[in-house]
Assembly symmetry: C2
Homo-oligomer: 157 residues x 2
């Protein structure tokens, strides 16, 4: 485990500032491993027409490409804003060791981003959510899970 290094957060902040100037969203992130920056990226939702292209997701994808793995254990993420639920989920799936963030979700809400709303939605029961969500055809779908369970040469993640 590494110690906090303000240089990494300053780089994430610089990326967030540059992103505003170049037409992206005001967010940046850096992933480090063993005292070295592996990947650094900013939000490109509108530039790339990709609603999943938040700074953290872009940086996780870049780090995985560079390290040729889907498992970022041993890495830490510095992000200029508290991760939204999508990015927090991505951080868990990527198995990052630690999260440093600067602005928080209330700050994000204050400038018009839905992070807080999505946190509230996720905690609601499915039938109370804003996006109508309906379970269907579970009997037909479970076959893929049974196949996965029985597969002996699967790559788990």
């Amino acid at each position: 485990m590494e110690n906090f290094n303000s240089d990494y957060m300053q780089k994430a902040i610089d990326l967030s500032v540059n992103s505003v100037q170049s037409g992206g969203g005001p967010f940046g992130a850096v992933i480090v491993k063993n005292g070295k920056i592996i990947a650094a990226n900013s939000n490109s939702v509108t530039k790339n027409n990709d609603p999943t292209a938040h700074a953290e997701v872009n940086t996780i994808r870049e780090a995985c490409r560079i390290l040729e793995t889907f498992d970022l254990s041993g890495c830490e993420i510095y992000t200029s804003c508290e991760p939204c639920p999508m990015c927090l989920g991505a951080i868990y799936w990527a198995r990052l060791d630690k999260i440093y963030f600067a602005n928080n979700k209330a700050d994000a809400k204050n400038i018009g981003f839905d992070d807080s709303f999505i946190y509230e939605e996720i905690e609601k029961p499915i039938d109370k959510r804003n996006i109508k969500t309906i379970q269907v055809m579970r009997d037909e779908a479970i076959i893929a899970f049974q196949m996965w369970n029985e597969k002996t040469d699967k790559i788990e993640y």
Copy 2:
């Protein structure tokens, strides 16, 4: 708003089954608009070394590329399994109208996937989460948000 169409869910299920057979995770998704399939994809986390490459995220990215937008209002998603927090967040950011799912997060947990764990983590206060999460340098970071707020020609999303 469209009516439920079992053909779309069957396609998502078929993708999940094919994915197991071809070395991916057991998940598939389809996005439809005005009675037409726009995008259909499966999980490729291990195949692409991308922990964000869940079926829903892959399908959202594909639909956005095809429709040349970051806003999928007017579209519905059929997914073979209840979205994990990352994918649910992606669905909210993409502004999809409706979610149909088949297997649920308990089914996913039964075959070794962390969806339920991540749902539990997101609902915890930050200082109680399994991945250590620390706020730093908010005073330095807020500048990007101020710049965003003051920018008159920004593309909001």
